[in-house]
Symmetry: C2
Subunit: 328 residues, 2 copies
Amino acid sequence: MRKELLEDIGEKELINRLGKFMPKNQISDDCALVRTKNNDLLVNNDSLVENVHFNDITICAQDLGWKAVVSNISDLLSSGCQKTIGITISLILPAKTEWIWVEELYKGINKALKNYGGVILGGDCSIGNEKIISITALGIQGKLKLRRNACKPGEIILTTGIHGLSKLGFILQSKNNFEIDISLNKRLINKSIERFCRPKVYPDFLKNLLKTRSSERITRVGCTDSSDGLFQALHDLAIASNCKAIINYEKIPKDENWPKGDKWDEYYFFGGEDYELVFSLPKKWAEKLSKLDKNIKAIGFFTKGEPSIEFKDYKKNELLKNTPFKHF
Amino acid sequence: MRKELLEDIGEKELINRLGKFMPKNQISDDCALVRTKNNDLLVNNDSLVENVHFNDITICAQDLGWKAVVSNISDLLSSGCQKTIGITISLILPAKTEWIWVEELYKGINKALKNYGGVILGGDCSIGNEKIISITALGIQGKLKLRRNACKPGEIILTTGIHGLSKLGFILQSKNNFEIDISLNKRLINKSIERFCRPKVYPDFLKNLLKTRSSERITRVGCTDSSDGLFQALHDLAIASNCKAIINYEKIPKDENWPKGDKWDEYYFFGGEDYELVFSLPKKWAEKLSKLDKNIKAIGFFTKGEPSIEFKDYKKNELLKNTPFKHF
């Protein structure tokens, strides 16, 4: 009998199966929570594998170092981290790697840490066939627990910014220009490459949430980041919180030069690596917060129902039949 | 001009160079220390790479999972960890990996955690060309800080047990039997394979140190583990503590059936992966502790001088000219 291989199983099912080895409270979220006597800690782990998540053509070592840190910090922030403590770095590198590449990688890592806080706590380096950067990040849990399972029917769905840019940046960097059959605005090109190579995160997000909170009794907010795309983020929130997301296509914040068309909608919803936060709040809180931070936009609401995503404009539901974004 | 490659640099120099990117206090030890308001945390990271640290011939998935956890816990214990909090696991696996392999790996991981404490805090799984298990372990710093740089001239050097067994186990598992030209005792064979596949650590070590401590004012002890071999452990202590190790060859604890000869001395001193603790204590403390734990043996002492290792019996110094154990 042929044994079952990982390629037969697929990513979703694999994560499901791995879940049975983990404590119940740890698997549905971006981070794990560690209770210590005084401060609760958030722990996150994220690996970037050459030719799966990056290659030498699309991203230089310094940008890769930056991005490896940012993708971890994004997970901490989307759990309500008030301060990044630091990271451990596990590097696997082929013996033929140039030293200058390693130096540049660390420059990028240190730039991101300087920007967003935290220090290098240590690490490990081994030889291997392909480059792998695996980072574990530690942070302190702030006063609001942001969790995937804390969304409620009736709450407004919001996002901190524009999606799809990173995917476009990736296509441009891959020189897959045949994919793009129209001439693009120069500013959009630069912005997309910048977003792909040097994504930003929102360290003030928690502070602004706390500023606009009506009562200290509120301690949980439904939230995740869009590292795997806006659609996946909404999907994860809906599943974990057991409610249905209704999205208003017209309200989705797009770059003013973002082209129209199905392909561009796909990039927008399934692109990934934009590291925007996707979350839900009661209406008044949502209004206060959007006033305080003009980048934050309401894009829909949660309602009772089977965990799923629907567009208010039914014609747009065609989009959801394609789920082109797949990774192992 | 040809750029400098990692294979030109070598492991030692690479670690040196990476050191400049890290805070001073983090690089000379087995773990990083994270100060939180109440409990200080120890953080450790260790990766196992297929065909570098393991392969399918020498070790099965369940043993590998056990060993990956134990190698991390050993680093925590050798820093004075009083309790393992948990681990994050980053897995890189080829798509052709059988699911049963993953399941067995997690069985081994969970057996080790059940034995030594700690839970799975989360992780990440990606596709890649070769299997990689990268673990980050978190623990709570106990009342004695065990550090590589805390050895002092005049102190007795001790070890928790026998070395070389894991190396012999590895050779037996590799079926490199041509390396072994004599017939081995059956019990030694089994013990060595057991040591290689299911190494043990000493969770009571800190407790016993504290029990035999003469004063609470003593807060530091020089210590590391022999994951890279007894010689490397002594070398690391000598360098970090700036003193000279004098080893009494006659006192080194060996298995009663361990063969004689230069090759067997090499396995003993340079073998690695035995996860015994190597440490130094003032004479009286050393005596008290060895009485309490009969496995602990004095093997020499530290003295003033250039950081180095010498045998009391000068003929044995020939051994130190060979440093066959190398890894990237």
